[in-house]
């Protein structure tokens, strides 16, 4: 008889999520300190961010989080076909997010605004701090999005093949937890970076 411990698996995933919360928490703390030291420069610099793209990406991520949560419901109810469709929608949302980020970052790099560029070096210290945090935090977030996308792709294939089913689906649950973490971080990144102008 095989040994299984779904609660233990989920607890392990949560412990990992805690380290992620503290990782991003540290960055948010740096943001808070720098923002209080350079509030005017942060306000000016934030004007350069595209709040429209940020809003679209927020909506896209929230929808993708809901579809992951619903895919678990679908698997629990034995409707694997619907679960695969919902996970596919999630991955589509992730792709839309990445394309938006490509245009957003692409525009900034095009006008010469990226870490270490001549334009960036010429800015005031507060603005350099803002854009450095912007690139690092959204970049690290995007990295998590890619990893989450890979995990959910694996989960989707396993739902399709029946390895994940109504009786055992802890991998999908843990993949979902990771995806919600990506959403959670964005919930705080979006207002703090894009909406403080």
């Amino acid at each position: 008889m095989e040994h299984r411990d779904d609660i233990g698996a989920k607890l392990g995933m949560w412990v990992f999520i805690f380290t992620e919360i503290l990782l991003f928490g540290g960055l948010f703390l740096v943001y808070a300190i720098m923002r209080s030291s350079y509030s005017n420069e942060f306000h000016q610099a934030a004007h350069h961010l595209n709040a429209f793209i940020g809003t679209i990406n927020t909506v896209v991520l929230l929808v993708s989080s809901a579809t992951v949560a619903m895919s678990i419901t679908a698997v629990q109810k034995g409707n694997r076909r619907l679960a695969v469709i919902l996970l596919f929608i999630t991955l589509l949302c992730a792709a839309v997010f990445m394309v938006n980020k490509y245009f957003e970052w692409g525009h900034k790099i095009h006008i010469g605004l990226y870490p270490g560029s001549d334009l960036m070096v010429s800015l005031s210290h507060g603005q350099v701090m803002f854009f450095s945090l912007y690139f690092f935090m959204t970049g690290l977030h995007m990295f998590h999005l890619v990893v989450g996308g890979i995990i959910l792709t694996i989960a989707m294939v396993k739902v399709q093949s029946g390895t994940i089913n109504a009786d055992r689906y802890v991998l999908l649950e843990n993949g979902g937890l990771y995806w919600h973490l990506v959403d959670l971080i964005w919930i705080f990144l979006f207002p703090l970076l894009y909406l403080i102008t």
């Binding site: 808070a32 207002p191 403080i196």
Partner: protein, 94 residues
């Protein structure tokens, strides 16, 4: 087999949570347009915290896990708050 009774969240509940989250997003955007100066950040952070709470309890299923999970996340958040307080006390009163 699951020895414990598994709670299945309905599609409808997930949908309502999503609608609430989207509504809160647009409240945040509207509030930052109005510009309440110093209050803006506070309001944005409070709304973000409400959204985070909804995601944690519903999408991440904490509402229906054993209380051990909630104790853990409570401790992590407490540690984070302590780190913030220590750092700010250093920066503000140095």
């Amino acid at each position: 087999m699951h020895p414990e009774t598994v709670h299945i969240t309905s599609y409808r509940t997930h949908l309502w949570i999503l609608i609430t989250l989207l509504a809160l997003t647009f409240v945040t955007i509207t509030v930052t347009w109005i510009d309440l100066s110093a209050l803006t950040v506070l309001v944005a952070l409070v709304i973000a915290s409400v959204k985070a709470y909804l995601v944690l309890t519903n999408f991440m299923h904490l509402k229906f896990e054993s209380s051990l999970f909630r104790v853990f996340i409570g401790m992590v958040l407490a540690i984070y708050v302590l780190v913030i307080l220590f750092t700010l006390s250093d920066y503000l009163f140095r």
